[in-house]
C-alpha cells in the first residue's frame, strides 16, 4: 500500500507526524521507537528569545480532552538550531519547525534565523497559540493580521510555510483564504480551542494561566468540520490534526480533505501512538476500499 504523500517541501513516506508541542524536539520519544518510522516531525515552537513559559499547573484533564497552557516555553530559536535540531539530522524524516512570536518582527526574526538551519524542511507558522498574552491567537483570529504575518514570513523564509490556523473563529474559510492569498504554501489545522476548568476545592481555575487550549478527541468533530469547509473552498495542502488517536481517525481526516495529519495529545496517552497508527494505516485504508493514502484524500466530500 502506497502511504507516500508529496507536499510543498515535504516528501513524506507516510502522512503521520507528531504535532508541535507534543513531541518536544524528538529526543524523548526516540527512546521508545525509531523516529525513521514517522512521516515527518513537527517540533516545539521557537520564539526569538528563550521563554520560561507559564506558571504551573500547565495542564488539566477534561472529558476526552485536555487543557494546556505551556506558554511557548522554549530555549529560543538560536539554541534550537544549535542544540536541538541536529539530533534529528540522522533520521530520514523531514522536520518542520514551529514558528511563534509576540510581534510580526519576532515571527520574521525567527523565520529568518531558521534559514540557516540544515535540519528542517518547512515552517509551521503558529498564529494560533491561545496561551500567551501577546501574539499567538490574536494573529489567528484577525484576517488582516494573519495576512501580514504570513506575507512577511513568506518573504523572509527559504522554506515552504504552513500556516497553523486557530479554531477560535466564526469563519475558518475566511482565515484560510487570507493566508493563502498572500502565499501560504499550506495550512495546518487545527490548533487548540480556548477552554477552562475550575477546581471546586480551590475555587479557582486549575490552570495557572486560567485558560488553556483544549485538545484531544473532544475537538475532533470541530477539526473535521473546519478541514472539510476549507477543502470545499480552497485547493491547498492541509496538514490536519485535532484528536487523532487511531488509523480510522487518520482516514476520517483524509476524507475530510487533509493531505497529511499530525498526532498531538494521543502521544501522551500512548507514546507509541504514531508508529502504531502508521502500522495499522494500510489495513484500515484497504478495509474501507482505498488503494493508497492519495486515493482517500478529499473523498468524504458530497457534491450537492
Amino acid at each position: 500500500m502506497n502511504l507516500a504523500v508529496q507536499l510543498p517541501g515535504l516528501t513524506l513516506k507516510n502522512p503521520v507526524m507528531p504535532a508541535s508541542g507534543c513531541f518536544g524536539f524528538g529526543k524523548e520519544y526516540s527512546e521508545f521507537y525509531d523516529l525513521n518510522t514517522l512521516g515527518a516531525i513537527i517540533v516545539k515552537a521557537a520564539t526569538g528569545e528563550a521563554r520560561y513559559g507559564n506558571p504551573t499547573p500547565r495542564v488539566a484533564e477534561t472529558s476526552s480532552g485536555m487543557l494546556n497552557a505551556i506558554g511557548l516555553q522554549n530555549p529560543g530559536v538560536e539554541k534550537i538550531i544549535t542544540d536541538e535540531l541536529p539530533f534529528l539530522r540522522p533520521f530520514d524524516t523531514p522536520v518542520i519547525a514551529n514558528v511563534a512570536g509576540s510581534t510580526v518582527d519576532e515571527y520574521v526574526h525567527v523565520a529568518t534565523t531558521l534559514n540557516k538551519s540544515q535540519d528542517i524542511a518547512a515552517l509551521e507558522l503558529n498564529i494560533s497559540c491561545p496561551n500567551v498574552k501577546e501574539g499567538g491567537v490574536q494573529f489567528g483570529t484577525n484576517p488582516e493580521l494573519a495576512k501580514e504575518v504570513t506575507y512577511k514570513v513568506k518573504e523572509a523564509s527559504n522554506f515552504p510555510v504552513y500556516v497553523k490556523l486557530s479554531p477560535n473563529v466564526s469563519n475558518i474559510t475566511t482565515m484560510a483564504k487570507a493566508v493563502v492569498d498572500v502565499g501560504a504554501d499550506g495550512l495546518s489545522m487545527i490548533n487548540t480551542l480556548t477552554g477552562m476548568q475550575i477546581n471546586l476545592k480551590k475555587r479557582a481555575p486549575i490552570i495557572a494561566n486560567k485558560t488553556g487550549g483544549l485538545s484531544g478527541p473532544a475537538i475532533k468533530p470541530i477539526a473535521i468540520r473546519m478541514i472539510y469547509e476549507v477543502r470545499q473552498a480552497l485547493d491547498v495542502p492541509i496538514i490536519g490534526m485535532g484528536g487523532i488517536t487511531t488509523a480510522e481517525d487518520v482516514v476520517e481526516f483524509l476524507l475530510a480533505g487533509a493531505n497529511a495529519v499530525a498526532v498531538g495529545t494521543a502521544n501522551f496517552q500512548n507514546p507509541y501512538a504514531c508508529p502504531e497508527i502508521i502500522e495499522q494505516l494500510p489495513q484500515v485504508l484497504s478495509e474501507y476500499g482505498f488503494s493508497s493514502v492519495a486515493d482517500a484524500i478529499g473523498k468524504g466530500h458530497v457534491h450537492e
Binding site: G24, P57, N68, F268
Partner: protein, 253 residues
C-alpha cells in the same frame, strides 16, 4: 530504557484509609531505582497518573506502588483487582542518587503520599549499611501505613495533623527535636511540607522529590516544570530531570 508495558496486578490491598498497595509483575522491576515513578493509564481518562515506586522485589520481579484515592483516576485504580492488567510507562524520572553519596546516616522525611517512595529508598539504604531515621507525617491515625516496615529500617517517628496518632503536628516538629547527626536528608511530600523541611534543614544536604500535574510524563510536553533557585527564569522538568532534585536546586512555589 523507558517503555510502555501491560503489567499484571498480582496483589491489590487496602492498607489504610483510602490507601491502596498494588503490586505488579514486570521484568523491568530489577531496573527501577528509588525515587522513580511510573505513569499509569486509567481507562476512559486522557492523562496518565504518575505514581511512585514504593518497593521492588528483585527475585519475584515485581514492584509495589502505594496510592491514595484523590480523584476519579485513583478511585478507578482502587477498584482494580488481582489479575487485572495496567498499562504503565516505566521507569520515569530521576532517582535518589545514593550510589554516588558518602552516607552513614540518612534522614527520611515523608508526608502522606510522599511516604511510599521513601520506603524503597530506605530499603536500599539499609542494604548499603546506612543508618536510617524516618519521620513520617499523616493526616490522622486511620491514614498511617507502613509504620512497622519503616521501623525495621531504623528509628521511625510519626506525626499526625490531628494528633490521633504519634505526635500532633508536622514532621518538622519532630525533626527539630532529633539531635542526631546526619549526612543527607531525603524528603517527599506536599509542597508546603517540602518548603518547611528545606527551610528547617537549610544547612544540611538533602534531596527532595516533587509533584506536579503532568501531561506526557516523559519530558516532551513541558507541563511539569519547576524554576531553578539560582536562575528562576529557567526551569527543569519534574518528569524527566526530576522528580528528585538536590534540595537547593529548585525554587518551591
Amino acid at each position: 530504557m523507558i517503555t510502555k508495558k501491560r503489567l499484571e496486578i498480582i496483589s491489590h490491598l487496602q492498607i489504610a484509609e483510602a490507601t491502596f498497595e498494588v503490586t505488579v509483575k514486570s521484568d523491568l522491576a530489577v531496573e527501577l531505582k528509588p525515587g522513580q515513578f511510573v505513569h499509569i493509564l486509567v481507562p476512559g481518562h486522557m492523562l496518565r497518573r504518575p505514581i511512585s515506586i514504593a518497593n521492588v522485589d528483585r527475585e519475584q520481579k515485581t514492584f509495589t506502588m502505594i496510592f491514595k484515592i484523590f480523584g476519579e483516576g485513583t478511585k478507578k485504580l482502587s477498584e482494580c483487582r488481582s489479575g487485572d492488567y495496567l498499562d504503565i510507562i516505566l521507569p520515569c524520572g530521576s532517582h535518589y542518587p545514593i550510589e554516588e553519596l558518602e552516607l552513614e546516616h540518612a534522614l527520611l522525611v515523608g508526608g502522606g503520599i510522599g511516604v511510599p517512595p521513601l520506603y524503597y529508598l530506605g530499603q536500599q539504604l539499609k542494604e548499603k549499611g546506612v543508618k536510617v531515621t524516618s519521620v513520617l507525617g499523616f493526616q490522622g491515625k486511620s491514614h498511617v501505613f507502613y509504620e512497622e516496615k519503616f521501623q525495621q529500617l531504623g528509628d521511625t517517628y510519626i506525626a499526625t495533623n490531628d494528633g490521633t496518632y504519634g505526635k500532633k503536628g508536622f514532621v518538622t516538629d519532630i525533626i527539630k527535636e532529633l539531635d542526631q547527626p546526619m549526612d543527607y536528608y531525603f524528603s517527599c511530600g506536599p509542597t508546603p511540607m517540602l518548603q518547611a523541611v528545606t527551610t528547617l534543614l537549610a544547612n544540611e544536604k538533602g534531596y527532595i522529590s516533587l509533584e506536579e500535574r503532568m501531561g506526557c510524563g516523559v519530558g516532551t510536553c513541558y507541563a511539569c516544570v519547576v524554576p531553578l533557585k539560582n536562575d528562576p527564569t529557567k526551569n527543569k522538568k519534574i518528569c524527566k530531570d526530576g522528580p528528585v532534585f538536590y534540595a537547593n536546586e529548585v525554587l518551591l512555589g
